[in-house]
Amino acid sequence: MSTHDTPTERPTQRQPVKFYQTGTFTVGNRLLPENVRSVQADMRRTNSLNSGHRACQGCGEALGARYAIDAAMQATRNQLIAVNATGCLEVFSTPYPETSWQIPWIHSLFGNAAAVASGVAAAMRVKGHSDVRVVAQGGDGGTTDIGFGCLSGMFERNDDVLYLCYDNEAYMNTGVQRSSATPPGARTATTPAVGRQPGNEFGTGKNVPAIAMAHRIPYVATASVANLRDLEQKVTTAMAIRGARYIHIHVPCPLGWGSAPADTIRIARLAVESGLFPLYEAHDGQVTARTPIRRRVPVDDYLKLQKRFAHLFANEAGKERIALVQAVADRNIAEFGLLAGDDAHG
């Protein structure tokens, strides 16, 4: 653990070529050797979650899941089993008689994905299939709320499972109700934008990556569909580690957030660039790297693209609440040292 004592700034460039036409931020790069290109750039990528699924137009979760699972597939040379919690991802991908999954996949219940995955991992262990690895995946509700007990159990036992939480910040499958991952101020069906404190209460919510770190599991990271290379690198890192691992992936939901389907990645990017969704990774409970903000934006830029925050722009009181959201972003930026060249933690 001594090797992780000093956090370092994660370099935004991950390729040996220091600079090229568009930096490393695009999905592919014809100028790089194939073996260092992104998984998603590969013509032979798994498409673990295949076409024909019934996710809404512009679904961030569908995208995040394919990004993560394809990367995990590559990291494990396709020796992967996935366990899925109930939720949008499960429903839109496996309605009888069609499944979009190209990998061995099981859905059991809403709240037990982590435990089922522990069972799969145990079976692989006893059968001597140490090369077969297990991921569990669920939405924020299935992770931070109903599945939290099983998740914590999987963590503390340090079972050999990578848990992927696709966080779209509410119960979308059931019609956009609040979860413990719903951000302050957001309108949901159970936190409507009415009354003197419209939207979700400030001062509520659960920081599951931090809780995961508190379990001292080998690896915790946050990622975003807006930064594919960062996401893939984290999945790859996770798959090289044995034991319990957790990656929390921010996936905008056009339906629930009231945003344009075409803006899914743009919004995810603004969440990162505003500081509202910090990207970092932690080994053994210690933050070891963070992905710096490239072009900082005020939270307004992020909020105003989403109807769930429209009430914040309706009046003077809303402005004060936006200031509170900005304070959250500012605190994240200070806490993780997210500005480029920020070496506060160095």
């Binding site: 036409q21 999905v27 013509m43 979650l49 512009g58 991908s93 499944t99 490239r294």
Partner: protein, 542 residues
């Protein structure tokens, strides 16, 4: 496996569900016109040759470049690169150093002896080109590539026109000029020097030319009436610069005053410095903002110690070299008006750099021509009022730059070719311009422009060594890779990656992508996340 009914499903079965039926609008791949290409007077496909340069294939890049412009090493030195002014990267950090990459490619080609492609088939037609300046050379090159027999007739002793007799060698070394001219001649273009065409129709008839392209340039210095003493040494800029190419350098003295505000004025002042003048003063009647000379040239001249007197006109020059200068003031419309305030300047010589006129005497017997403001009028096809007679460069209405001249040569060549074949040349329709708002600039990594090394100041003031050096390969590669590929797919794989429905098919290197409309739901993420604006959405029709 005897799988349980309904609960357990075979993988990949969702392909039966064609989600494309949800779509209300569909994405389409488009090509938009990059602003650099749009701005290039020579019509270069800049983005295309940068694309090859990015991958380090400089020979392919050079071949793509010379499709439109046979003089890249010269361009890389003397072009005022309007492309860079238009470059979208300028909005992000700094414009791509297109000019410096062009020069690198041109120099590489000279160093490695790359040759032009030969014409595929010969037409059997002969075309006369009058004038071996940039426009004539460009036309000759393109006509030759199109399979015609080309002869250039040049009145001067050497090819190059204003590139040789108007641009100082510290800006354009002569070996570069000679190298690029020679390569054109190597294609089988004939060049006859020291022959002035006096009657174009006669010459065409006598020598059997089916068409002619006139590009005689503008070599006659404009004069201003300045009362001067008998012994006053008053010269014109064209003559000074031309004499620089001869055996005897012009005698300008220790104190040289240059009158004018164009690039030529600067060239003369900087030349004077290099010839040993202690003072080189430019007198210009307006302000720096109004000066037609390019800013970087003004800057370089000032660095070299050239002085500029703004808002001043020269009233007379006395025998002993004393100049009377009147201060001017700009009126509300920005025109300089005399103030009645005078001062004097001591000068060993006064060089007038007030512009040039065209010698049109060879056209005296040609009917149907329209001459206006001292230049020949041509149609959009560069043809004069006389069929088969085309003209370009400084002798037609234009901004008089080497690049514009090269562009004229190309354009004229294409129309001449069509005319010879009895057809009309129709340029391909221009795409919509890829303006900055079409881009998603987030994806481009930060990378400021590479500055070309500049010659040490002392050496610049005393020698005619080239002031601005080229980029080395690493720098050129870096610079090429700064290109944003505005409006044209560069296969960054973003659309392929960001589609939540895997509805983008990657066709492989160089083949770009296709949409799989069976599954595309029309979300538009690919459009939003395309860095270079090469995808658009159109409404779906039933």
């Amino acid at each position: 496996m005897d799988k349980p009914f309904a609960i357990t499903l075979d993988v990949g079965s969702s392909l039966a569900n064609r989600t494309g039926s949800w779509r209300t609008s569909r994405p389409l791949y488009v090509d938009r016109l990059p602003p650099c290409n749009h701005a290039c007077p020579a019509g270069e496909n800049i983005q295309q040759w940068l694309y090859h340069a990015e991958s380090g294939d400089y020979e392919a890049a050079w071949h793509a470049l010379v499709e439109n412009n046979p003089l890249p090493a010269i361009m890389g030195r003397v072009c005022y690169h309007p492309c860079e002014g238009a470059c979208n990267r300028g909005r992000l950090d700094e414009a791509v150093g297109i000019n410096s990459v062009e020069r690198f490619l041109g120099d590489e080609a000279l160093k490695r002896g790359w040759q032009f492609k030969r014409p595929a088939a010969l037409s059997g037609k002969r075309v006369l080109v009058v004038g071996a300046g940039p426009s004539g050379l460009s036309a000759a090159y393109h006509l030759r590539r199109l399979g015609h027999a080309v002869k250039i007739v040049e009145a001067g002793p050497l090819a190059g026109g204003m590139m040789r007799f108007g641009i100082p060698k510290y800006r354009l070394p002569r070996d570069v000029l000679d190298g690029e001219v020679a390569r054109i001649l190597d294609m089988g273009v004939e060049l006859e020097l020291n022959r002035k065409v006096t009657d174009i129709r006669q010459t065409m008839r006598d020598e059997g030319f089916a068409a002619a392209f006139l590009a005689v340039g503008a070599h006659i210095a404009k004069r201003a009436y300045i009362p001067a003493g008998e012994a006053a040494r008053m010269l014109d800029a064209v003559a000074v610069l031309r004499d620089m190419e001869g055996a005897d350098q012009p005698m300008l003295g220790r104190r040289v005053v240059v009158y004018g505000g164009g690039n030529t004025a600067l060239d003369v002042a900087r030349t004077a410095k290099r010839l040993g003048a202690t003072e080189a003063i430019i007198v210009y009647r307006r302000t720096r903002e109004k000066m037609p000379a390019h800013d970087f040239e003004v800057e370089e001249a000032l660095q070299e110690g050239v002085l500029i007197k703004w808002l001043s006109t020269i009233k007379n020059m006395a025998d002993e070299g004393t100049l009377t200068v009147e201060k001017m003031a700009l009126d509300d419309k920005g025109f300089p008006q005399p103030t009645g305030e005078f001062e004097t300047l001591e000068a060993d010589s006064l060089v007038l750099a007030l512009g040039q006129d065209v010698d049109l005497s060879l056209l005296d017997n040609v009917p149907g021509l329209v001459i206006k403001d001292g230049v020949v009028q041509v149609g959009p096809d560069m043809m004069t009022g006389f069929p088969g007679l085309f003209a370009g460069g400084d002798m037609v209405p234009s901004e008089r730059t080497v690049t514009v001249a090269v562009g004229h040569g190309k354009k004229a060549a294409r129309h001449i070719d069509a005319w010879l074949r009895g057809t009309k040349y129709a340029p391909p329709p221009k795409h919509e311009i890829a303006t900055y708002d079409h881009l998603n600039a987030w994806y481009y990594a930060d990378a400021p422009k590479t500055v070309r090394p500049v010659l040490d100041l002392v050496r610049r003031q005393s020698t005619f060594d080239e002031v601005v050096s080229g980029l080395d390969e690493t720098n050129a590669l870096f610079e090429a890779r700064r290109c944003l590929s505005c409006g044209n797919c560069f296969e960054c794989d973003n659309c392929y990656g960001v589609c939540p429905d895997n509805a983008v098919i990657k066709l492989g290197p160089g083949k770009r992508f296709e949409f799989n409309y069976d599954y595309c739901k029309g979300c538009g993420i690919c459009v939003s996340e395309c860095p270079c604006g090469a995808i658009t959405m159109v409404p779906e029709t039933i």
